[in-house]
């Protein structure tokens, strides 16, 4: 009945990227709980937007504070939506559902496994961040949207999706994830020029913040949003962070496989 183990493959392999099924699987789960992901991704930036819009009439870096703030909120939305959901997704699937073994048994390279998760998680972050951008644009107007803006935003989202995979490989469970997120990732988003220029940070902190993975990307995104000007050095720096975190995630995924 089954020709179960006859070993005769009766099909010709479909030609599509091997990471695509992973994105489809993520999409199925997200489609089922779309409202939760949407509200979870939008609530914090939108609350910040309303609070600051009412209370701050100041200027920052030569522009109205709200204009300055909105690109920062878009960055925050990209980081939250791509990092937080993916790190929980992968940690749960590695430690509790143990789906990672199923992926490791499949004809799927480490690179495809990583690419699928980074593209899926980062893609979702990109969509949420664009929604925040559109909501803000409707409220205030006066922003630019270009291919380079989208590219810079995608680099930020994929950087933090890579960090999420790396973290999920070493986390013992959801408590480790929560601690790392609350102690490192979430505070970092405040010190990378999202809410105020890093030059206003006291003492050496302003200089140190340029060594954080988000600062160059935030500054470039703001320049692109406000004036349509791309700074290649900032773009290159954020690209280097993406390459670094991707490599780290690759090494940790490979280590987990050997383990």
């Amino acid at each position: 009945m089954l020709e179960a183990a006859a070993g005769k493959r009766l099909w010709v392999e479909k030609i599509y990227p091997p990471w695509l099924p992973l994105i489809l699987a993520m999409g199925l789960v997200w489609r089922r709980r779309w409202w939760r992901f949407l509200v979870g991704g939008l609530n914090r930036p939108v609350i910040f937007l309303f609070l600051f819009a009412w209370n701050f009439k100041d200027t920052a870096a030569g522009v109205a504070y709200l204009q300055f703030l909105i690109p920062g909120l878009v960055v925050m939305a990209a980081v939250t939506a791509s990092y937080s959901d993916l790190v929980n997704w992968f940690t749960l699937r590695r430690t509790f559902y143990r789906v990672l073994d199923e992926y490791l048994l499949a004809p799927l390279s480490i690179n495809s496994l990583l690419a699928g998760h980074v593209l899926g998680g980062g893609g979702k972050g990109l969509v949420i961040a664009l929604l925040v951008y559109l909501v803000s644009w409707v409220m205030t107007g006066g922003f630019c949207l270009s291919f380079l803006f989208l590219l810079q935003l995608a680099v930020i989202a994929f950087t933090f999706a890579s960090l999420a995979v790396a973290m999920a490989m070493v986390a013992g469970g959801d408590k480790d994830v929560l601690m790392f997120t609350n102690l490192i990732v979430f505070p970092m988003t405040f010190f990378c020029g999202t809410f105020f220029p890093v030059e206003r940070l006291p003492g050496v902190l302003g200089k140190l913040s340029w060594f954080l993975p988000l600062t160059a990307g935030t500054y470039n995104l703001r320049a692109l949003a406000l004036g349509g000007i791309n700074h290649w050095s900032w773009f290159g720096e954020s690209l280097a962070w993406l390459a670094g975190f991707y490599l780290l995630a690759y090494l940790l995924l490979n280590w987990r496989r050997q383990d």
Binding site: M1, L2, A5, W11, L24, Y97, A106, P107
Partner: protein, 279 residues
């Protein structure tokens, strides 16, 4: 179909599997029997490329496991000991995902999903999230998933652990049907009756070593087909005999109550190791 030469795995100072040599023929149900920690799961993990061996080599369907990953992956299906289904997907979606990972075209994938859901009797629950399934249903779905890409060799690692007796019998029927359809099956178990009921041949493992190999009948023959079991005040006593007549004669000479019964694989294990399977 499976050939293992000198397979060895160490975890620190612990030798999990030591110089394992074994050949499993096509369309055979082969059982690795032994207590927890005997090295059964480590053996399966090495054969399925989830753990790298310290030494030795293995071939599956003519392909070397460590060198020809892609061909081996297509040739094998694995049902691990732990549940590893995506609980946030439905039964059908789990099978679809597996088919996509193996690049099956949509039409073939759809046909196969329906065929396998019917085979494991989950057709009516296909659209439900797996998180709501019972342990037995999850096990059956894992078997369906392992069969999805038509593997030639199936690895079933403790396939009935934690299941109630009724569900366990149902799983045995599934294993027999898969074998009848042409599958070569390597299963690990610490349930004696499971190995006895299902396997054409059994390898008994203890502390990482293969200590006996043969059909259940041969292994029992080797130690004696009949057991005289008694109690001498300190504990149970066992005496093994080749024929019922010898056993009856021995029982007649023994004071106190004794039982004469046929030898089980557990008796074989005790005879070889001096311990019960669960100890």
């Amino acid at each position: 179909m499976i050939e293992i030469k000198g397979l060895t795995k160490n975890y620190g100072n612990l030798q999990a599997v030591s110089d394992l040599n074994l050949r499993i023929e096509q369309e055979e149900i082969f059982g690795l029997l032994g207590p927890n920690g005997a090295g059964k799961t480590t053996t399966v993990r090495m054969l399925t490329m989830l753990t790298r061996p310290a030494a030795g080599e293995a071939y599956i369907a003519g392909h070397e496991v460590q060198r020809d990953l892609a061909r081996v992956r297509h040739a094998i299906g694995v049902v691990p000991q732990h549940m590893n289904l995506d609980q946030e997907l439905t039964a059908r979606e789990n099978l679809e995902l597996h088919g996509r990972l193996y690049k099956m075209p949509a039409a073939e994938r759809g046909r196969r999903v329906e065929e396998l859901l019917a085979f494991v009797e989950l057709g009516e629950r296909a659209g439900e999230l797996v998180g709501r399934f019972s342990g037995g249903m999850k096990r059956r779905l894992m078997i369906a998933r392992a069969l999805m890409h038509r593997p030639r060799v199936l690895f079933l690692d403790e396939p009935t652990v934690g299941l109630d007796p009724q569900t366990r019998r149902r799983m045995w029927d599934l294993v027999r049907r898969m074998n009848r359809d042409g599958a070569t099956i390597l299963l690990t178990t610490h349930y004696i009756e499971e190995a006895d009921a299902l396997c054409h041949r059994v390898g008994i493992m203890d502390r990482g070593r293969l200590i006996a190999l043969g059909s259940p009948g041969e292994l029992k023959e080797r130690v004696g087909r009949f057991v005289v079991e008694g109690f001498d005040g300190d504990g149970a006593t066992y005496a093994l005999f080749g024929t019922r007549e010898e056993a009856v004669a021995y029982a007649g000479r023994t004071s106190g109550g004794v039982t004469i019964r046929e030898t089980t694989l557990e008796d074989v294990f005790i005879q070889l190791t001096g311990r019960r399977v669960g100890e």
